[in-house]
Amino acid sequence: MIEEEYIDLINKEIDGVNSPKKSAKLKQYLAENPEAKNLYHELLTVSNMLKEIETIEPSDTLKKRVLNSNPMEKYRPEEKKYAFLRTRDFLRSLIPSPISRFNVKYAFAFSAGLILGITILSIFIDGLYKKSELDISDLYGTMMLYGTSEDFEPVDHIELNFDEVVGEINVKYSTDIVLVELTIETQHEIEIVFEFDDSDIGFSGFTRLNNEENNLRMGKNYLKLSNIGNNRYIIVFHDKTDSVTPMNFKIFSTGDLFYEKAISTGKKSG
């Protein structure tokens, strides 16, 4: 009977992993135990037989088969190229090879600069446009030639002082221009009409000084506007002839003529 400890030592001795001390201990045991000594020699013989078995060479084609069956592209960086690298390669392919690297480098620098310049310019122009977009909702006035304002002469003035309508009309005249300033206040809606001979006078412009919706209506020889509340209007006409051109001013309330007055538009010096 061989003790388990020595079976272990026998195998380790065959494998060459026993310490000198353990080897000496085993040697002493084997000298005293023929059965253990016999096992040791049998196992050593088997081990030596296994060592004698020659290595078998595979066929010459094995390596080629292995390499051919491997997808060698898997770890090639080309497969993981980013889109911009492909684009760069495409651009390079369009340029003759000896100078391609040089040209592409500067082409990219130029392109980057161009894009940056366009971007800055667009921001600058956009800023200019935004600055020019002024709020003109509160702006009003009348355009005239420089130096002519002093030439406007009051030619007519009408006071409106009724229960329903309060206000005034000032008519001014300058060279070929008739300026009608109308200030009016009504409790309910009225219709204001300017009638004129379109062969003598023509409508040039209109503005309502408070910020409300305009309801101006124009015909061949009239100008109509509706009013409710307190408003101020400036209406600009121009003379077509040298003759005196009177104008009719009418106010209609609930469809009926409420007020009518001929207003002078100026007198030509002749």
């Binding site: 060479e57 997808p71 770890y75």
Partner: protein, 180 residues
């Protein structure tokens, strides 16, 4: 085993240098082939299995943990592929036997017989259970340490020793029975 060189080759291969993998194939193809051959006792199939081992290794190269030795990783794939083959083969042999099919053609095994001079030992190995055969092959043919074998097989060193000592004892008994 020049582990550092193997690691460099693996790294180079992952960078797209196919030559690096070719070097690894060149270095280990015979070793892996012999492990598979001793496990399966089938020459032609061993070449196919060896090819599969390298293909799988290559495909999973980016998952290789450099803390371990490359050859241990390769051996593990080889052992697993061999065991898979033996399982499938056993199933096929059972089918053949049940159908009583006998082929008169010269099999790859026959060709292997001609090449193999230590046929009896190989047959004795084939009589061992695969878990014992594996440790004998890794220990005696590849000269691997207990620790390396434990890494390859994924078992404790103690288990490796136990299996190896049992395998050696059984192999001795089989050879004695055969009169060798």
């Amino acid at each position: 085993m020049s582990e550092d060189k193997d690691f460099v080759s693996v790294r180079e291969c992952l960078r797209g240098r196919s030559e690096a993998f070719e070097m690894l194939v060149e270095k280990y193809q015979t070793t892996i082939f012999n492990v598979v051959l001793r496990m399966t006792d089938h020459y032609e199939e061993s070449e196919d299995i060896t090819q599969t081992v390298f293909v799988k290794a290559f495909q999973k190269l980016d998952t290789f943990n450099p803390q371990y030795k490359f050859f241990s990783w390769l051996y593990r794939i080889a052992v697993n592929e061999s065991l898979n083959f033996l399982k499938q083969r056993k199933h096929l042999v059972e089918l053949d036997e049940s159908l009583n099919l006998i082929s008169n053609e010269k099999t790859p095994e026959d060709q292997y017989d001609i090449l193999e001079t230590s046929r009896d030992i190989q047959q004795a190995l084939m009589d061992l259970k695969t878990q014992y055969r594996t440790v004998i092959i890794l220990k005696h043919f590849q000269n691997l340490s207990y620790r390396e074998i434990s890494h390859i097989l994924g078992v404790k060193e103690k288990t490796v020793k136990s299996r190896l000592f049992t395998a050696r004892q059984q192999l001795k008994n089989i050879l004695l029975q055969k009169g060798i």
